[in-house]
Subunit: 394 residues, 2 copies
């Protein structure tokens, strides 16, 4: 316990660190929800969310988390008994498919692997075999926070087109939006969903959806629509319809402050920052892995995300390392979840993170590896420092 007094380092993949500006933004009275100021707040946020999704289409704000957004997406475009194909590469496409099943949708998994990204050619083959076009939509996760993978959404989109299949492409960008490039329109994504508590640096409680014209067409005949999630109802003339009731004013104040910070930094800059910090983490893990115990969960370096790194511990106990980092250093690591629970830990590097936060986190992990005598290659944090020193020019 001796060196943890100080600011807690939250290195979990969401909820992420909130900037003080975001916290402060919530410390004020609510707006009159019928005021012009409230309408302006909503309009500005919806416009900016579409910019974040890189779409000309409209966005929707839900009081919900990511699981809620899954349901929002499905209920607006699907009918009971229709079929989705979910692309496995970790835990979250599976979770989305299970949500679909629970709503009366037939859900098929395209088998994949926890240690690699979705293979677009397998998707293309499966869709070609679906001659009757039973598959109404493909569910893809951009970054899976369990496995640490990044899927190639443009390639997945191309695979659908090359198969000549009309399936909608529905994408979960919860763990990537605001951190890595995402181009909804250019990539041909039909619906994108995300949430407030990762790259958008806001409190959990808000989810966001954007829909293409093709998705709006599907929406018209979808019979799973419910009053809370329904896009058409949310576009009614009254402002309160935008939120299907009371607006979550304080969460919106927080989101406004967070998006202002992100736009002030500029998106290309934030993406570059995540790429630098993600690579710094990978340099450290790569050096540690030489000890034969630690290893990347994602085997192919090109498939590792810039927002979260999942580290396998072959034989050593990740809970001991996490406990050391938390109790002795004040660094909270993510645990391994799903099929690698008990065999992995995760380092999040998304949202409000800078070089000293990442280097401090890596330093604490390296302290723990040493204190716990877990075999590891030396110089992991140093490799991260050297990489950043070489790439962040004076």
């Amino acid at each position: 316990m001796v060196v943890r007094a100080g600011r807690e380092f939250l290195a979990i993949p969401g909820p992420t660190n909130m900037p003080d500006e975001v916290l402060r933004a919530m410390h004020r009275p609510a707006l009159d929800i019928y005021s012009d100021a409230m309408v302006e707040l909503t309009d500005g946020l919806l416009r900016d969310l579409s910019t974040l999704f890189a779409t000309k289409n409209r966005s929707f704000i839900y009081i919900a988390n990511g699981h809620g957004a899954w349901e929002a997406v499905l209920s607006n475009v699907m009918s009971r008994g229709e079929k989705v194909l979910a692309l496995e590469s970790g835990r979250f496409a599976l979770g989305w498919a299970q949500a679909a099943s629970g709503m009366g949708i037939e859900a098929e998994m395209l088998p994949g692997d926890w240690r690699r990204a979705v293979r677009p050619e397998q998707l293309e083959a499966r869709l070609r075999a679906d001659r009757t076009h039973r598959i109404k939509a493909v569910l893809a996760v951009h970054v899976d926070t369990a496995s640490g993978v990044i899927n190639d959404i443009p390639a997945i989109s191309r695979a659908i087109k090359q198969a000549g299949h009309p399936a909608l492409l529905l994408v979960d960008a919860v763990a990537s939006l605001g951190c890595m490039p995402f181009e909804m329109d250019d990539w041909g994504v039909d619906v994108t969903m995300t949430a407030a508590q990762k790259g958008l640096m806001s409190p959990p409680g808000l989810a966001f959806v954007a829909a293409s014209d093709r998705a709006r067409d599907a929406h018209r005949s979808a019979n799973l629509r419910t009053p809370y999630w329904d896009w058409t109802l949310r576009e009614g003339p009254e402002h309160y319809q935008k939120y299907s009731g009371t607006a979550p004013v304080h969460l919106l104040f927080a989101l406004r402050a967070a998006i202002d910070l992100l736009f002030a930094e500029t998106l290309p800059h934030a993406f570059r920052r995540h790429s630098l910090l993600g690579e710094a983490v990978r340099r450290a893990v790569g050096a540690w892995a030489e000890g034969g115990v630690l290893d990347f969960n994602i085997a192919d370096p090109a498939e590792r995300s810039d927002t979260v790194t999942t580290v396998l511990m072959n034989g050593a106990d990740p809970a001991e390392l996490s406990r050391y980092c938390r109790d002795h250093c004040g660094v909270v690591l993510g645990t391994g979840i799903g099929e690698i629970a008990g065999r992995a830990f995760r380092i999040a590097h998304m949202g409000h993170v800078n070089a000293p936060m990442i280097l401090g986190t890596l330093g604490a992990i390296e302290m723990g590896l040493r204190a716990l005598k877990i075999p590891h290659g030396s110089g992991g944090t140093e490799a991260a420092i050297n990489y950043l020193g070489d790439n962040v020019k004076a």
Copy 2:
């Protein structure tokens, strides 16, 4: 600018990082300053401050900074034309002596060196030469935040006694109290002063003084007493006299939260934490120093404080390094001040600091040394990690 978005790392030697609990404590209405709750708040703080000073004597709370506390101390025990001897080992005993001069006190410096601690034997010799006991008080600084030195207050106290001299020992513990052991009564200190914004993790604006019986005796005949600083007036029967007017309620709320945190950690634990983190910084600087450019300002390792490390840069520009750390990484280093201005930077490791904050700060400095191509021995941050990993047991 690419990797600085994230929480700012404040590595300056005061004001230091404030815990969120301290910030939150101020976010409430003031107390009725005539209420029992206000009296209880004051009584509890005064009792706890005496515990922090390790004295059975009473403490005083001033709305002031450290410079104000210097004046509070001097005005309560000195008369116009009396003489003090200030012990040079950096900038702050000199500053205190200048304040004395400005108040009509004769101030003599015991010459010292910016690169080493006060030599008690020189003090003893000077006092022995003062046969008429013209020197009324000795001004000593425990930790000088400019030079990074720690002075041996018990040895200084012994030197006064061994010289058979009646001088009062007045000590500035601004940069040590709450971070390193301080034993006012055991060490024979007559007056100790400190301030809120360093080891006490509170906003600048409060200063604290504790006085021994010998100091109280001197107080009776002191003619520099003024209404605002006067101990006797502050001990009058009315509560408002404790603050010579309106109590600084919100600063007191903050201080209450900070001392609660410190006591919850326990003082021995906080001292050990500072010792571990201070040594970690020294391991890093020691490794970097092998490149021939960086060097410790304090030559003797035993005289380096556990709260701030002053690093000389022989030939390289510390402003460039500080700019890199601030603009590119979000780490704010202390600048060199006084006679080493423009030739040094400072790393504070006091107050609300833990392993990842220190390792993140060191990592950012090492990034900067690399990016700026400033010659430095490699493996500085790694040496800090290894030291902490070996000494913070699982």
